[in-house]
Assembly symmetry: C2
Homo-oligomer: 349 residues x 2
Amino acid sequence: MDRDCVLGTHRVLEPAGALPQSAWRLDNTPVARSNEVLCSVDVLNIDSASFTQIAAHCGGDADAIAAHIRATVDARGKQHNAVTGSGGMFVGQIAAVGAARADRDTLVPGERIASLVSLTLTPLRLDEILAVDIATHRVRVRGSAVLFASSIFARLPADIATDVALSVLDVAGAPAQVRRLAAPGQTVCVIGADGKSGVLACAQAKTRVGPAGRVVGIVPNGDSPGAQLLLAEGYVDRLVVADARDTLAVLAAIPAALPALADLVVNCVNVGGTELASILCARDEGTVYFFSMATSFTAAALGAEGVGKDVTMIVGNGYAKGHADIALQTLRDRPPLLAYFNARYGARP
Amino acid sequence: MDRDCVLGTHRVLEPAGALPQSAWRLDNTPVARSNEVLCSVDVLNIDSASFTQIAAHCGGDADAIAAHIRATVDARGKQHNAVTGSGGMFVGQIAAVGAARADRDTLVPGERIASLVSLTLTPLRLDEILAVDIATHRVRVRGSAVLFASSIFARLPADIATDVALSVLDVAGAPAQVRRLAAPGQTVCVIGADGKSGVLACAQAKTRVGPAGRVVGIVPNGDSPGAQLLLAEGYVDRLVVADARDTLAVLAAIPAALPALADLVVNCVNVGGTELASILCARDEGTVYFFSMATSFTAAALGAEGVGKDVTMIVGNGYAKGHADIALQTLRDRPPLLAYFNARYGARP
């Protein structure tokens, strides 16, 4: 059976030779080609940088924002903000499944899913824009989108509120990778432990290292709701209050908090300049996992060389097999964590 | 016994609280404190970006360049170019060893060494500048420098020309990491295979994977001396001529060159925009090792997510235990490779 390009290059209209993300215009014809999945779309979650730019451009007017998004999608066949270069994700239902897909038998039309690849590479057609929610950056629509063979997505669970599920899926790579990298008896240090990805990473780490292991969280402020949750539920054995950008402050805290250093350091901070502190917290031949998108490649590479530290430094891949299920299960298995996410990220009245 | 800070913060004069690299001025007193090594210095290898800036500023005049370097070191206690932010390395001899160093018994005064940490964090004192070689960016001096407990250095071999040894030590992390990451029977793909780090990576990879394994090199030009060496000596099983920035060209070459994809992809390219091609060459759950300093962290992280590829992506750490010895031995064990390096990087008449 003939297969289309797994990366979706067969949907590129212009310029020729581009990949879907770098393309100006995609073919958004609402059919499921050989190894595609066609979805009906209910909601666009415009990414924060893009929505803020569009809203400012439109003077904060919901109708103008809707018209702006409509014009972009009509012109380009995808919601790709040309100013910010970013997109977002969609929520919808499986409508049709290409005949050549290996996972064809597992894909049930009508199932609710969230796309986990960017809207900047997703063929999208809008029939109608129903509402723009300026507070949440969500746009209710009637439309259709296409997933390629390489486009990851997650089934939305029936037992977790959609807003909460989306907030967890956004950082699903963190708990999944911690589960893979941490081992019983180890010491794990999570930097930026009280943020969204940080609390999920700590909870998974504590389960993985077990009673013989140790989880140390580094947070900028011990009074934050996230920090209090970590201590109250025992997701960390110790909390260190320090600004991870202050390398000497972290260094000063190490003898008491991490006397033998950490086997695994997980960086979940969303600011730059924390690479060296992360490296210094790891033991010789330990692993540093940089989940933060604010990580500088050269600061990490030259930082380790500058202090002569033989550590394995891993780039936080947003995808790992089963990451969506692992992230959602991290909440289901821990009612206090689920309650925390419901309170913080659930739909507001 | 009292130990000084392994990172050398005890040598920071101003501003207080800085690390040696971020400091404006270091204490360059020529003594070996508890866990330091004092070295006499013969040669400064000024890094290319810094030397080019200084030479332009001084109108290409050797005496003016010497005076400029002298003024920097006198003012700051280190050769730290304030414009480029970069330094270089030094070649010298061990002069005195601190009493608290664990490796004290292995450090013999008089041994010739090259520092492998940046001059931007190395306390340096200059007694005299003897000559400035504008062609090689090398400055012959009489002076002294201090290595901290965390400062890596390499013993210079007696059997390999100093210029050749320095050129190999500059990329020592690549062959050392390939030796660690590759395993018998595997398929390894080296992108940028014909460059300095690339040929060393291919040679180590071929030895590690053995006759049952395969090494595929991707090069921009099959006629380059490096590409010809790889083929002639069998350091690769197959050479693919493609521009790694052209993702679709690499994708098109994969079915014939890497039908089952690579267990390990080593990126040695010194240009940006090759992250996605590297990721696409790796098999599911394979490893991508980014040795290139031109790597974009976000392009790697979002690239893997965008194509739903579960690969482990490693930041090229310039340091790995024994990396200098492994890199030099890579030449000793392969006379054609040594001849190639002698011809290309050896001292010119």
